[in-house]
Amino acid sequence: MTNPFAITLDVGSSRANHTGSWRVERPVYVDRLPPCNDACPAGENIQGWLYEAESGNYEAAWHMLVEDNPLPAIMGRVCFHPCETACNRVQVDEAVGINAVERFLGDLAVEKGWALPEPGPDTGKRILVVGAGPAGLSATYHLRRLGHHVRLVDSAPRLGGMLRYGIPAYRLPRAVLDAEIARIVAMGVEIQLEHVVHDVEQERRDGMFDAVFLAVGAQLGKRVDIPAGDSSRVIDAVSFLHQVADDDAPLLGRRVVVYGGGDTAFDAARTARRLGATDAVIVYRRNRERMGASGEELEQALGEGVTVRWLSTVSKFDGDRIMLEKMKLNEEGFPEPTGEFEQLDADSLVLALGQDTDLSLLEHANDVNVRDGAVEVLDSMMASPSGIFAGGDAVPAQRTATVAIGHGKRAAHGIDDFVMGRSAEAKVRHELASFELLNTWYYADAPRTERPELERVRRQTNFEEVIGGLTQDNALFEARRCMSCGNCFECDNCFGVCPDNAVIKLGENMRYQFDYDFCKGCGICVKECPCGAIVMVPEHN
């Protein structure tokens, strides 16, 4: 059909008019650092594995997870999840239950028997890892993936370090612990248990190791000088928990007082309850707000009958009675004695006042700096240019399993660079995906799914796991609460909202591309991107 001149036009002819020339700013797709990833001490790509989990690709999610952390079932239980604190969703409703999903994935992997990645091709390099706690296990895993030979030594009869000897089974069932450790061992690791390294330099020379990673933990419970009539009834929490873990629980009596306000104090008090104590009282010199343990842990402990004496110090223990001195907080928030005293019946006193590291093995390592009982390290966790690295509780950092796992990973890469003679690559960190960059209107209103808690009575009498896991549905739901901050999750908004059809959809998992021939630079795509993954940048001539 030949159209009447000018009046009638053929379809699509406007594509000859490149309206991109109107533009003074152009939209550009970016990836931003989600706050969860930013906050994760283990350096997990949380948003990334949640993305897979959202789609129900649990195995892919797990594989992405173990890229950084080989112990998700464990960490899904014991991590204090700073990711959730940082989560932008807090400002919409509640944080995404990242930790719960992590555990779900970890458990699922154990159940399905998913294997960790194969070790890398053998490099011929030998690495000594001292300490089989989370830092050591993490380093071992990453070093194996990099193809290095690892000898993992520990003074204890079993692997796990503080995971096994510091965390009670009701928080971390041993089967889970064993299963995840076994997966690492299965990568081919030379293991030496009940072996104490006295001199790291000697050990290194004897074993011809190219590098050493020290992950010796903080195994020494801090003691304070408390006048005590019968010192046999005073025990430090680390030892207490260790003995419980070795099925050799000490007899503490019916009335147990735990002195301290950290997680360990709570672990000890809750463990005491389970061992038959009728009274488990935590004595803490500050108030609830300044407590080191998490609110979650406090709630659980209170629910199990543990009581807390805030703003109190133990001044004397005479065998059946403890003398407490009441404290008050000064203007700086530090506790000060008041001179008021009260008594508390007690059969035993557990000291949970912190731990020290035994660094005697470094006596001959002259180029390692130790300050305030901790090994000083570079970003790469290198403690000595001769190839000694350190991490976990032995270095100045927050003493958590998650931090330790992060150290292990970082140290493994530092060691890899060192033994392979490479200089470390500076990692580019994306700009943070802050809440203001999001358009949260688009996210469905969905409150967080709570994990089921074991009923209270059962919790007081046995070491069954207190916190249950998510069902598959719940996990999927929880994963889908992720707002994918700063990273395109293919919601098609930009593709849809462009008045000029100037967005090209590249297909599943390939995201989009702007058609700058037609984009007029209105910026609607930026404004309506739910996750803040587009920015406007000025056009250059």
Binding site: Y442, Y443, A446, R480, D492, P499, D500
Partner: protein, 336 residues
């Protein structure tokens, strides 16, 4: 027939697409092979709500009819920016006749199709608010009254934008336009005037009347689909913010449309045979200030000589809408 939103799928059904949804639950706009009824290269302003609304509506109609629609267009921005010789942006059969006659032209198209026994091809007529509530009103009312088989879509940007932002009977009170300047003791457009065309349409007892905005694509597409399921005269009134005429940033188009509904100033509902059958509840209520303050056409209500009295008057209009349509009924998001 009521819609059920998809919940909890990260962006549920609020975003355009959602890889987590089944293909058939995603919008037409999420499809790589959508029609793009109005194609790239059109000369609409940056951030034009009307260009967006037209593509949303027509692409949805194309899907609903399996590609069997013809469109009639009134004179106006949409027509001018889409078909300047020698280029057209339309990928569908499209006819422009005059400013005030689109409903009647569409009647003619429908009549011709009926005479030819063609039941498959459906007719969509479209106009701006001027072409709908003012100059085209007589023809529109006639088309409604005869119940001609036409879906008429009004892209309401609340004024004569094509001619340089003059007042129409759809311009809201207090808004500044070139013919209702922000001067004098009662600046901007008068209160107590204007036409509520969706309600007038309902008074014709036609099979379907609905309102929608470019801020809720799923809702808009569902309404187009519903409209195409029915025969007879159907009316869809879509709020399409105009960055030029409203004095808003080009990237705020969808945001402002959202605030129009969330404030209650633009009720989103649907009605069949004159009876309201569903309303879109306000999800996150906002005071009208939030909506007004993003638009320079209301700037005289703020700034150096603020007019809280006028804002309160506008708020009372929003409140009346909220009461009339029950826009604040118990939150449906979790319950359905």
């Amino acid at each position: 027939m009521t819609s059920q939103r998809v919940h909890f799928y990260q962006v549920g059904s609020f975003a355009v697409g959602n890889r987590l949804l089944n293909e058939d639950e995603r919008t037409v706009q999420a499809q790589s092979d959508r029609t793009n009824s109005i194609d790239s290269g059109h000369r609409a302003c940056q951030g034009c709500g009307e260009a967006l609304g037209a593509r949303y509506a027509l692409d949805a109609a194309m899907r609903a009819t399996n590609g069997q629609i013809v469109a009639v267009n009134a004179t106006g921005c949409l027509e001018v920016f889409s078909t300047p010789y020698p280029e057209t942006s339309w990928r569908i059969p499209w006819l422009h006749s005059l400013f005030g006659n689109a409903p009647a032209v569409a009647t003619g198209v429908a009549a011709a199709l009926r005479a030819k026994g063609n039941k498959d091809v459906r007719v969509v007529a479209q106009a701006g608010d001027g072409g709908t509530v003012d100059i085209g009103f007589g023809c529109l009312s006639g088309m409604f009254e005869r119940n001609d088989d036409v879906l008429f879509i009004c892209y309401d940007n609340e004024g004569y934008m094509n001619t340089g932002v003059q007042r129409s009977a759809a311009t809201p009170p207090a808004a500044r336009t070139a013919t209702t300047e922000a001067v004098g003791p009662e600046p901007g457009n008068n209160f107590g005037q204007g036409k509520d065309l969706p309600r007038i349409a309902m008074a014709h007892d036609i099979p379907y009347v609905a309102t929608a905005t470019v801020a809720d694509l799923h809702d808009l597409e569902r309404k187009v689909e519903r409209a195409m399921e029915l025969r007879g005269a159907r009316y869809l009134h879509i709020l399409v913010p105009c960055p030029l005429g409203w004095g808003s940033a080009s990237d705020e188009t969808i945001h402002i449309a959202r605030l129009a509904t969330e404030s209650g100033l633009f009720p989103v509902f649907e009605a069949e045979h004159g009876v309201v059958t569903s309303v879109s509840h306000i999800r996150r209520p906002v005071p009208v200030e939030q909506y007004l303050s993003l638009q320079r056409r209301f700037a005289h209500l703020f700034g150096a000589n603020p007019r809280p009295d006028v804002i309160a008057h506008l708020q009372s209009m929003a409140d009346e809408n909220i009461a009339r349509y029950g826009l604040l009924q118990p939150e449906m998001e979790q319950s359905s």
